[in-house]
Assembly symmetry: C2
Homo-oligomer: 205 residues x 2
């Protein structure tokens, strides 16, 4: 099972590492960390290593595209979009977390497809012809998208169940002790207190 | 607010990146990614960059120690334990995720303290004189410990509320869309189906 995780400068690190922690536990996983070029990328406060240049990874069973606060440097990069389209032709699952969905959209893969993204990017997603769904994990054919940042963990468990079975997914949930107990109930626009929601929405007004 | 995140070879990447995503959003955070030496470490399937050698970071407001499946190369490293003890003298919060708690224990910081770790390492934690608590996040004085892997996100939100207030923690929860919806209910020994629990426990028998 080949898994290609695309990483890039300014990305949100949890978008990648949350699902990586889960999906890399597919038995026999061959994980490739892929960048536009091989080498270090800066994901906010931490550097991550792209072991492979995208030109050297021309196929994969699963491809996963994480997001960032601003995706314009990726969605406007024709070479990256060409790579995403080419790899997608070879995948059994093409997946994204957070605003990574905008890359799938810009690559033309979401036309008429149900998909999700970070709550701040729903309108942009629709701009690519996607049918935006206000759900944590959305599957449409072989495209699986997760909502913002931390949703990548839920997306990856859902994906893991598809490729390795429910029992293995539950085993990995136990090994990663994913028994979430957030100290607040503020993780969605619907659940956050009004003042918190308004502060967050103001960033995107 | 100085935050020192210690990283090392063979570590579990989500142990570090989950809490990093949250706690780095303290207003004015000065995050330092620290290794035994500066340079790349291999965290399972992904390389992370230590921007600083531990010798160059002698104090921090917060220190965070992630875990790994096997911690013996860290808990037996006198230089690392010396560093943890020295930095702890300067912190307002000394924290761990998963088996990172064993490093705090080996450094002598958990004698008589309530603490938690990955479910598989509870007995080892008690071996360091800690009072093991079967809770997701445990605070005892300035020591805050999180349970296994994904618990670092809950730990960091709890910590963020302490250092930046409940409102800011809720804002960060919304920005990271931390509204967990795992597809299964298998994240703890108590909740996992019997066969899944037995398979996991057998790894540590």
């Amino acid at each position: 099972m080949e898994i290609a995780l695309f990483i890039f400068d300014k990305m949100t690190p949890l978008d990648a590492v949350g699902p990586l922690e889960v999906i890399s536990r597919v038995p026999g996983a061959d994980v490739k960390i892929v960048g536009k070029t091989a080498g270090s990328v800066r994901a906010g406060h931490i550097g991550l290593t792209a072991d492979h240049a995208m030109g050297d990874v021309t196929s994969s069973d699963i491809v996963l595209i994480p997001g960032a606060a601003d995706m314009s440097h990726i969605t406007s990069d024709a070479e990256i979009l060409d790579w995403v389209r080419a790899v997608d032709k070879t995948t059994t699952w093409t997946t994204s977390v957070c605003t990574g969905a905008l890359v799938l959209g810009a690559a033309g893969l979401l036309q008429g497809k149900r998909a999700t993204t970070h709550w701040s990017a729903i309108r942009q997603l629709e701009g690519y012809g996607a049918i935006a769904a206000d759900e944590r994990v959305v599957t449409d054919g072989k495209i699986m998208t997760g909502a913002g940042v931390s949703a990548g963990i839920d997306m990856a468990l859902t994906l893991l169940a598809e490729v390795a079975g429910d029992d293995h997914a539950q085993f990995v949930q136990l090994m990663t002790e994913y028994d979430p107990q957030p100290p607040f109930n503020s993780g969605s626009l619907a659940k956050a207190p009004d003042a918190i929601r308004d502060r967050a929405l103001a960033l995107f007004a």
